[in-house]
Subunit: 405 residues, 2 copies
């Protein structure tokens, strides 16, 4: 028997299940794979042998289609990293693989998950094992994986952000009292998601007035001056900001302005970045200010998934499975962009050791010289990724999802 095992890891996204669909479809399309297993809760679930038979659970096109449109990680996730210096871990994994006759293992995830692919494939190679193949499939709304043009999940999160900023702009413009609305977007080290707020301008609307990515130093005085300048002509100022912005000394803004804040229980309270800036604006400018955190909604909004993103996610699952079945190991499936307009891509793979634990940031030349907006080049990069509306199936007025375990 040659069985295939697929698992998911890291933060949820609207597109990670489409990758599982691609893996399953590729496995079903040939004679190489006997059983298709899913591990529950990523590599942690592999250690616990929490396997489900995906061939049985997904025994109809309708179920595959519903999984394609289900957000988060239908196989569950984990935040576990393998310890490179602990051979017992790898020996245990190998025993489990042998016991369940697993020849192909596809791990879907971000930087940390690609480290698992790297460690495991390296161990198998060192042991001279040539009948188990391990492949990574990228997934991260952060869009920060190296050697792939972009990451599955990012396009859908970007479409959520574009839509939400377009709608928030509408909401903010309704009143005529000067007000500053600061919206915090996920991203500790990379500003790709925050940049996507600019996509809300694609139909000629204003979108956010100011955009601050975490790649550049955040200068509070410059920020206040930017806001004050806008308030001279605008009633409603809308600001997009990465959660991970830092000052010139490298201190997170959220920590800098939260210092001293204590909650009712006496604990130091770390406010969010947007909340910190809201307090700053109220204190220093004195106008109405509000902060919004887009929190988990930006990563699990399956109803707003980008059709382009879901299709690419499926294709990357297929590509990873196909390469794995063909005997490739220790690589991650990738997307290479051939052109922006018309948008065209090609699927391939890259060495996992050049991806694991690395982060791809927004190039500084794609940030406006004033550090408070994105350039047309960045817009051109992002635009194709949010195209197309994936028709979410609704039942009883609510999105229809599938539960696998």
């Amino acid at each position: 028997m040659k069985n295939l095992l697929v698992a998911q890891s890291g933060g949820p996204s609207a597109a990670i299940n489409a990758t599982v669909v691609g893996v399953v479809e590729r496995a079903l399309s040939g004679q190489e794979v006997d059983r298709i297993y899913g591990a529950v809760n990523g590599i942690a679930g592999v250690f616990d042998e929490r396997f489900i038979d995906l061939g049985e659970r997904l025994d109809s096109p309708e179920k595959l289609r519903t999984l394609y449109n289900t957000p988060a990680a239908a196989l569950g996730s984990c935040r576990m990293k393998l310890k490179g210096d602990d051979p017992a871990q790898f020996e245990k994994l190998l025993r489990i693989f042998r016991k369940h006759e697993i020849a192909y293992f596809i791990y879907i995830g971000g930087n940390d998950s690609m480290d698992t692919v790297y460690q495991l494939s390296r161990y198998l190679k060192q042991q001279g094992i040539d009948d188990i193949f391990v492949m990574g499939a990228p997934k991260t709304i952060d869009n920060d994986l190296m050697l792939t043009d972009h990451c599955p999940g990012y396009g859908s999160a970007a479409k959520y952000l574009a839509t939400t900023f377009a709608e928030l702009r509408r909401d903010c413009d309704v009143y005529y009292v000067p007000a500053v609305t600061i919206v915090e977007v996920m991203g500790r080290n990379a500003g790709w998601l925050t940049a996507a707020s600019a996509l809300s301008r694609l139909n000629g609307e204003d979108g956010p007035n100011l955009i601050y990515l975490c790649e550049t130093v955040f200068d509070s005085e410059k920020f206040l001056s930017d806001v004050k300048g806008l308030l001279e002509t605008e009633k409603a100022v809308l600001v997009a900001v990465s959660e991970g912005i830092k000052d010139a000394k490298g201190a997170y803004i959220c920590e800098k302005f939260s210092s001293g804040a204590v909650d009712a229980f006496g604990h130091t309270q770390l406010s969010g970045t947007a909340k910190a800036l809201e307090c700053l604006v109220r204190d220093r400018i004195g106008c109405k200010a509000r902060s919004i955190e887009l929190s988990l909604m930006q990563r699990c909004a399956g109803h707003l998934a980008s059709a382009t993103d879901l299709q690419e996610s499926r294709m990357l699952g297929m590509t990873a499975a196909n390469l794995c079945i063909s005997g490739v190991s220790g690589k991650m499936a990738t997307i290479e962009r051939l052109s922006d307009e018309p948008y065209s891509v090609r699927y391939g793979c890259a060495d996992i050791e050049r991806i694991a634990n690395e982060e791809k940031k927004v190039p500084l030349e794609w940030i406006s010289p004033a550090g408070n907006d994105v350039t047309p080049e960045l817009l051109a990069y992002m635009k194709p990724l949010i195209q197309g509306e994936e028709s979410q199936k609704y039942e009883n007025g609510v999105p229809l999802h599938i539960t696998l375990y």
Copy 2:
């Protein structure tokens, strides 16, 4: 000339522009109205004579259709109430109406806006003016207007909440570490919106484990005991809570647990209700806790509008305009529910003085005896209101909106 004036007031919603569409369509469908004006920024804009010609701005079916799907208030809004004891205000309004030959005035809004309709219609009646007619059209995501089965805007906000809670449930279930996620929903005095989180269960999913509406007393110890009980069997506890929950003494929970918190600038910081409960859970239970505020997104998510809600909003605009043109004044257009299943309604009107400044709360018998969930009767009431997906038109991957001024 007999002109019609329409204006919008109060908080934005995904459906308020559909009501303008209904007003315009009714005005265009007969010979009674010469010009259709929109006042910018509600009654404040009427005082400033900020009028736009809606016949010109909406001169194609495409534009009407785009307005139908544009969230927030395309005519702008205001938070201004008329002073009943200031005749000069009413005299000024009358002069402006005469100057622009306005015979029909439709005001779309919530409780406060209906007070404007009440005051103005009463003044006109007292002055014996019988050629100017004033009608209210309901709008509030809060669903708290009297004498109408429900309010336009509520169904779309409820659909946003149902969808978002279904997606957040997915996201929370991905991990296996005990965690409590508390989601704050708008509603200072009425829990209709928070109750809508239960609609996320309509397809058999778990939805929120606990739902606390502001109609009942919030007992922190009972809450902690509810959460602890769930953590014995559940990994992820998802809680929906009204922003306006209060303790037995009538103190807002957000104020109670924020007392003492001071921001970096020395100002007392009033945290949100969910944030307060997050701190409480972390302090008393010690597990991972997170809070989410759905903030403005819940009221402006046009891309998730309920088809039922938009159509009813349009019909209420038509009804209000039709009654106004027929010589009715000092009333608000209403919805009467004939049956839940099949869902059926009838449009009518009710006396404005019985609506203005009143609030309709969730009946206590629709809240579970334990005070931490809704009853099947409340689910049956809400369910029809979120049915149908209004096909938002996208361009460049972003919702297409219209700008009127």
